[in-house]
Symmetry: C3
Subunit: 366 residues, 3 copies
C-alpha cells in the first residue's frame, strides 16, 4: 500500500478483534475474502530538553516529539473482493507532556484547537489495482519529502531543520498547508510499478461566495522513484490565499551506501513576495544493529523575509525493541541577520542571536 | 434491545476482547452468565458536493455525512444475571473532511465545542425485562421520527429535508434540544411487546438559582407501534427557555409495499410565537439487492418566522458490502418569501432565492 | 506495579488483542518474553443529585462522578526482557451527563479545555527492579493521600470533603497543581520492599525567559508504609507561582479493623499568605460482601481566606458485580463565617449559609 511511504516513524499496530470481524464477514455470506481489520494504534515520544539562546537563561522543558510525532488513532480496512479495498483512518496528535492534542483547520487557513481532533489524518480511502483514492484530511504531496525518508531527523526534535523547509509565518496566516490539508481528494499510484510512485491532491478551502471563495484551495503533486538503494522524489504544492498565494516545492534524495543512508534535500517556500530556500545534507548511519547516528547540516537563503541562517545537528537513536527506542539530539542555529529568526525548538532568540538545544527521550509505539 | 430503533444508519461493530472479558467474569466466580463485551465502533461518510444558489457561483465542497452521520465511539454491556444488564455508550461526531468533532451542550442551551466531545451520546444504561433506564446525553424522543426509519434521507446530506423539521434559529439560541439533550433520564419500554414501543425523557438544564433556573429543561415522550410491514409513531418534546419555550412534535409512518418503503412525516416546531410546520412524502425503493433509490418531497408552512418553502430530492445508495456503500443525492429548495431562508446544505441564498445541490460519496462503518 | 496505589477507583480493564501483540513479538525474534498488551479502559459514573443551600431553592442535577471519577483511556506495557518494561498511558476525563471531557494545563497554571484532552494522565514509563521512571502528565505526590485509600469518599461526590484538602481559589489562579501536574518527571520506588513506598516528582512550568520563568514548577515527594492492616503515608508538593507559591502537605492513615477500615487524614494548603487546614475522621465499613457503608466528618480551620467550616457525610455503595455498583451519598456543610464558602457540590450558598446534598447513581467500569 502506498500509505507507508507517507508515514513518518515506525508503527507497530495492535490488531483488534480480527476473528470477530471475520465472523461478520461470515454472516454476510460465504465469500472467499481476505480478513478485515480495525487497529488501535499510537506512538508516544517524550523527553527532556535544554535550550540556550544568546543573551537568555537556559530553558528546560519536558517535551514531546523529539524523535517522532506522538499520535493516537484508529484505522482499518475492509477487503471488498476483486482487488478492491476500502479503509478509514482517524489520527490525532498527542502532547505526552501535558495531554493536549493538536489543532486542525476546516478551511486550510485558520486553526481549530482546544481538545482532541483527528487533525493528523481523517480519511476514507478506496484502493484497487489502479491505485488509491483518498478523501478527507491528509498530508500534502510536498510534505512527503520532509519526513525521515529524505531528512535524517524528519520534522521532529531539535535535530530537525524542518522549520527551514516550512514557510516563515507572514501576513498573519498561521494554519498553512505546509504539512496537511483538509477537504482533500488525493490519488496515489499503485505501489511497485517499476519503482515509480506518485501522489496528486486537490484540497478545497470551502470559503463562501465572493472574491475570496477559493482561499485555502491547494493543488499539489509528487513524483518519485525508488529501488533497494536509491529513493528520489520531487513535489510541489500551491495554495491560494487572498493575502498572497503559497507555494512549497522540494526535491529529495536518499542513497543507501553500506551502513549509511546519505540524504540531500532542497526546498523552497514562497508566500506572496517572500521566499526562503533551504538545502540540507545529512546521513543516518547504522553504527550497530540497534543504534543509528544522525547528522544534518542545513543552510537557508531568505528574500524579503527573515534572515539567512544555518542549522547543524547530531543525534543518536537506540532501539530497545521493535516498538521502543531511546534517543538524544544536539543542535545549533546561527542567524546571519536581524530579520525574523529561526530557533532551536522553543528557544527565544534576541535579534540577530543564535540558539542551541539538547534533548534526550524515549519513543514508544503501540 | 430498544437501542437499535433509535440509531440512524447501519453499524457493524467490531467486538473487542470478548474472550478476555469472559476471563474477568471467570475470576469473579463460576456464575452462569452470558458474555460481556466492549466494542469500538464508528462510521465514516465523505463525499464531494456542488451547491448552487440563485445569484451566486456554484460552490464545491468535500463534505462529511451525505448519507449517514460520521461517528466514533466505544460501547459495551455487562450481563449481571437474572435478566439484568448494564451498559455504557460513548459516541462522538467526526467530520471526516477536516478531522473536527461535533459540539455538545452542558445546559441544553449553549454549545460547547473545540475538540472531541462524546456529544453524540454519553450514557450508562440499566436494562431488564421491565425495559431500559438510560442516564446521560442521548437523543430526545421527538428525534426518533426524523431518522431514516420515517424519512427516506433521514437528517443527512442534501437529500435530507431535516432542517425543515428542526426549529428555525431564533432568539439567539443555537443549541436547542431538537436532536439530543444532556443531563437526561430516559426510559424505554421493553421491545417486542405486541409491537408497541415507547420512550420518555426528562432532561435538566442545570442552571443556577433564580427565575431562569429551569432554562433548558426538557420533557418528551414517543409512542409507536410496528410489525413486519408498518411502523408508525408520534412524539412530542418540550423545552423551557427564558427566551421562549420550544416544542417539537411529529408523527411518522413507514409502510413496506413490495420492494418499496413508503414514508410520510409531519412535524411542527414552535419557539415562542414562531411556528413552522413541515410535511414530507417519500420512499426508499430497493431497485435490486444492492441498490436503493430514494425520493422525498417536503413542503413547509411558516408563521412569524422564515418563509414557506419546498424541498425535493432524489438519491441512490449502492451497497458494496454490509459495511460500505456509495451514494449520490440531488436536491432543490424553493423559498416562497423573503424571510429567513432554507437552503440545500451550506448553499447561501439571496433573499427570496432558491438553491440546489448535488453530492456523491462513500460511507464506511467499523 | 506501583501504579495501582495511585489510581482512585476500581478498574476492570479489557485486554485487547494480546494474541496479536504476541505475534508481533514473535516477528521480532524468538525471545522468551512475557506478553505485551494494549488495553482500552474506562469508568462511567452517573447519578441524580439534589442540593439545598440556605435561602435558595433545592437544585436538581444529573451529575457525573458521585462515587468515582469517570474516565476513558488507552494504556499498555511492553516487556523488554531483563526485568525492564516500558509502558504508556492516555486517560481523559468524561462527564457522562453531557459528554464533555476535562481540562488540562500546559504550564501548571492556566487551564486548557474545550474537548477531549488526555488530561487525567498522559505518560510514558520505564520500569525495572529499581522502580519506575514516569514522564508526562500525572498525579502529584501529595494527591496520593486524598484518594479512597485514606478518605472514605476520596474526592468524588457530595460525600467527599476533598475540596477542603484543596487550595481555596485565590489570586486568580485556577489550574493549580493540587491534583495533577504536566511536564513532570516522576520516580516510584519498587513495590513490596519491606512495605515501604515512595514517589518523587519534578514538574516544569515551561514559561519563557524572565523573572516568572519558573512559574508553575512543582517539586513533591510522598513516603509511605503499608502491610495487610495498616497503610500510612506523608506527602508534600510545592509549586512556584509569581502570584504566591503554593504548598500542599498531608498525612493519611488507614487501619483495617474487622469489617471496618478506619481512616484519618490531615491536610494543609498554603497559597501566599492564605492557609487552610483540614482534618478528617471516617470509615469504610463492609456491612456484607456486596455492601459498604461510608462515613466521614471533616473540620477546617482557615487563615486570611475563607471561613472555618465542617463537612459531614454518610454513604452506601452496593456492588452489582466486579465492574458495576450502585451508590448513594448524603452530606451537609456548615460554614462558620462570612468569607469564601465551602459548598456541597454545585450548591450555591448565601454569605454565611450552609448547604446539603443527596445523590444516587450507578458506576460502571470497562
Amino acid at each position: 500500500m502506498a500509505t507507508t511511504t507517507h508515514s513518518s516513524g515506525a508503527r507497530a499496530p495492535v490488531l483488534i478483534a480480527t476473528a470477530i470481524t471475520l465472523g461478520l464477514l461470515g454472516a454476510a455470506g460465504a465469500q472467499a475474502q481476505a480478513g478485515s481489520s480495525v487497529q488501535l494504534f499510537g506512538l508516544m515520544d517524550i523527553g527532556v530538553q535544554a535550550l540556550k539562546a544568546s543573551g537568555t537563561d537556559t530553558r528546560y522543558l519536558v517535551n514531546s516529539d523529539g524523535n517522532t510525532s506522538s499520535r493516537f488513532g484508529v484505522r482499518g480496512t475492509e477487503d471488498l473482493g476483486g482487488g478492491l479495498k476500502v479503509g478509514f483512518w482517524l489520527e490525532s496528535a498527542v502532547s505526552v507532556d501535558d495531554g493536549t492534542s493538536g489543532a486542525t483547520s476546516t478551511n486550510n487557513k485558520d486553526s481549530v484547537s482546544g481538545g482532541l481532533t483527528w487533525g493528523r489524518r481523517a480519511t476514507v480511502q478506496v484502493s484497487g489495482p489502479w491505485g488509491e483514492l483518498r478523501l478527507g484530511r491528509d498530508y500534502v504531496p510536498s510534505f512527503g519529502n520532509l519526513t525521515t525518508s529524505m531528512h535524517p531527523f524528519g520534522t521532529n526534535g531539535v535535530g530537525s531543520s524542518g522549520i527551514m523547509f516550512y514557510p516563515v509565518p507572514a501576513n498573519g496566516t498561521t494554519a498553512r498547508t505546509n504539512v496537511r490539508a483538509s477537504n482533500s481528494i488525493g490519488y496515489f499510484t499503485p505501489s511497485g510499478v517499476n519503482g515509480f510512485y506518485g501522489h496528486a491532491m486537490l484540497a478545497l478551502g470551502e470559503q463562501g461566495a465572493g472574491p475570496t471563495r477559493k482561499d485555502g484551495q491547494l493543488t499539489g503533486v509528487r513524483i518519485g522513484w525508488r529501488n533497494e538503494a536509491l529513493n528520489t522524489s520531487a513535489a510541489i504544492s500551491k495554495t491560494r490565499y487572498a493575502t498572497g498565494d503559497y507555494t512549497q516545492s522540494n526535491v529529495g534524495m536518499s542513497y543507501k551506501w553500506g551502513p549509511a543512508r546519505l540524504m540531500a534535500l532542497w526546498g523552497r517556500n514562497e508566500v506572496g513576495i517572500t521566499r526562503t530556500t533551504a538545502t540540507m545534507l545529512g546521513t543516518q548511519w547504522e553504527v550497530w544493529p540497534q543504534g543509528e547516528l544522525r547528522f544534518a547540516y542545513t543552510w537557508l537563503k531568505a528574500r524579503n523575509v527573515a534572515s539567512d541562517a544555518t542549522h547543524i545537528a547530531i543525534g543518536y537513536v537506540h532501539d530497545l525493541s521493535k516498538r521502543t527506542a531511546l534517543y538524544t539530539n544536539l543542535a545549533k542555529v546561527d542567524n546571519k541577520g536581524r530579520g525574523t529568526r529561526f530557533n532551536v525548538g522553543l528557544a527565544t532568540t534576541q535579534p540577530g542571536g543564535d540558539s542551541g538545544g539538547f534533548e534526550a527521550g524515549v519513543r514508544h509505539s503501540f
